[in-house]
Symmetry: C2
Subunit: 363 residues, 2 copies
């Protein structure tokens, strides 16, 4: 009963609670799992960053206007769903690695990271014909594909506007590259749509573009706003690359073994959308008899006449969940070890905590 109430809170978009949209749920989940150390560390980050996270939600809320613009309505619809906000969190924490900087610049960069992410989600939903996202109907279902295309364009421009006014040309150049890489990765995924091709190189290229590049940018942007040196910025970028991989591996796990009531998306949705995930790649390697069934589900799951729960049991029986979790832990360890060139500080500890929590999250 208590757990159900907590989950409801997590999935609620209560503005009063919204600055906790990432840290409270992570901390609750950690406590439930007995990870008391991580939970306490998350609680400390929460009080430390309270003003920043409040600012973030106000800034995202301020995109909420009385408007009949269908693109903006689609964008609002997505931003109102409780997201993890982990990319802006990376910006905020990294911005504390150096000397105090203009809070407005940091906030702009944090908001930009979330908006760039949200923009690609809106376009992805059109491309994947996705019906649910963050436990709610997708914007394209509510407002139509056209509104989602325009909503994505709108958020992309709003993200670029904020990076541009930060006045740091390197960040502008990099965010353009990042968005370009995100678009290419989505195109690669589209190319393999409906075909289950368990190739590691394809997986790596998709993860790099879809996830890692924006995490790298977020950490680097925060660090640049804090006046860090190139050596430190490079370390943050490499750390973000590994954090992105760890984050994606956990996403992959949640698709296979997560609780749909918590994750906000159906089980095996990635597979049904024809997306390659790491546990499936591993499962195929260990049990070749899975390949034809995975191919049929990826091609057209509704007519494949394959029981998804039974298929999931066969996948899980390969041990792919443990192997994927281990790989995520390894990537997280690499993400943390990349930070070793940075001086020890509360901010560096907080980054460690964010990395740990990204692997322990349940949604």
């Amino acid at each position: 009963m208590r757990e159900a109430i907590q989950l409801q809170l997590v999935n609620q978009s209560d503005p009063e609670q919204s600055h906790d949209s990432v840290l409270t749920p992570l901390s609750e989940v950690s406590k439930q799992r007995g990870l008391i150390d991580i939970a306490n560390r998350l609680d400390r980050i929460r009080s430390w960053l309270e003003a920043d996270l409040d600012d973030l939600e106000s800034a995202l809320e301020s995109t909420r206007q009385n408007t009949s613009d269908l693109g903006r309505l689609a964008a609002q619809h997505l931003l109102e769903q409780p997201g993890k906000r982990i990319r802006p969190l990376c910006v905020f924490v990294a911005s504390r690695l150096g000397r105090a900087v203009a809070p407005q610049v940091v906030r702009d960069l944090a908001v930009a990271a979330e908006l760039a992410h949200a923009a690609t989600l809106l376009h992805d939903d059109v491309i994947d014909q996705g019906a649910e996202r963050r436990g709610a109907p997708t914007a394209r279902v509510v407002f139509g594909n056209s509104a989602s295309v325009l909503g994505g364009d709108h958020l992309l421009i709003e993200a670029l506007r904020r990076v541009n006014r930060s006045g740091e040309p390197r960040l502008m150049t990099r965010i353009i590259d990042v968005i370009g890489a995100m678009v290419s990765a989505e195109a690669l995924q589209l190319e393999y749509r409906g075909r289950f091709v368990p190739e590691e190189s394809v997986y790596q290229r998709v993860v790099l573009g879809k996830t890692s590049v924006l995490f790298s940018w977020a950490l680097m942007a925060g660090g640049m706003a804090a006046g860090l040196k190139d050596l430190e910025l490079n370390a943050l970028e490499r750390s973000g690359d590994r954090l992105g991989l760890a984050f994606q591996l956990v996403d992959d796990l949640l698709d296979l073994a997560g609780d749909p009531a918590v994750t906000g998306k159906d089980s095996l949705l990635d597979l049904r959308e024809g997306k390659l995930t790491w546990p499936l790649l591993v499962a195929c390697e260990r049990d070749a008899s899975l390949l034809p069934d995975l191919q049929r589900v990826a091609a057209d799951w509704s007519s494949a006449e394959i029981s998804l729960p039974a298929l999931r049991n066969r996948i899980v029986a390969t041990g792919c969940i443990e192997l994927t979790r281990q790989r995520a832990l390894d990537a997280a360890a690499e993400a943390k070890s990349n930070l070793s060139v940075l001086q020890r500080s509360a901010a560096r500890d907080a980054l460690d905590t964010v990395i740990d929590a990204a692997v322990e999250r349940a949604r």
Copy 2:
């Protein structure tokens, strides 16, 4: 017979001819209409800008790669169709208003203007569910909606990349605003989809965002690359605003009275897509009996059981074509008079010619 051959040449995408994609057709059309003065002036601009226009086509061609990326394929498909390239032409001509500048910067800005335009076309085709563009099937018909969404994203990023490397922060800020305005105008059009609402204020807002802002940017970008002063840049922007209006009014006319074999799009397509055009707005004002029929066609033309040729005759009978042409000529005159703060020069004369030709074009 001779005319048919010429039209074929115009619609062909022959790389050897492609630097003439705007000036040769305009010049031919002008000759056919007996506008010998404009034709001769266009021929002079052609030789004057030959290297620039060659550069432009090479740069656009260089986006053509051996790729399986569906987004890039969709983008290539559109760029390979012969376009008018009038926005890059504005950049090139305006760049000659001042002192010689880095040709690479001018070329980047010219290419960016065309790519930003092409990006919105790809997304518009998805939104309008358009089947033909530039006389060929749209990218979304050939490669699918998803590829067109990604193709538009790709071109948008490529446009921004080029503006960014020009190293002029003001141009970056402005192109972000311009693209934002284009997205908002498309959303406004979407909002009125399927309803024919002949309101002048709606028409003006759509034209400003869909057409004028990018023409303004193109002229201003060229002028800025040429080192012009703020006073002159402002004049170029105002001129671009009026040129954009004139250009759109002629587009509106071609939808109603153009030759589909030349324009590359079906007659009354704007109306069937529920888009408000100026001649239709004027026609309704002069013959109120048209309104219910236009509303029915805009709502669902295929089931409206209205003869489009008969409807067109009633529209034309209101005299709206002459009134719209006059308004386009007035806007062109304003565009030219805005240039009066600039010193007389070959470049300023060339801008006058581009403005005249934009009104006289047949596609």
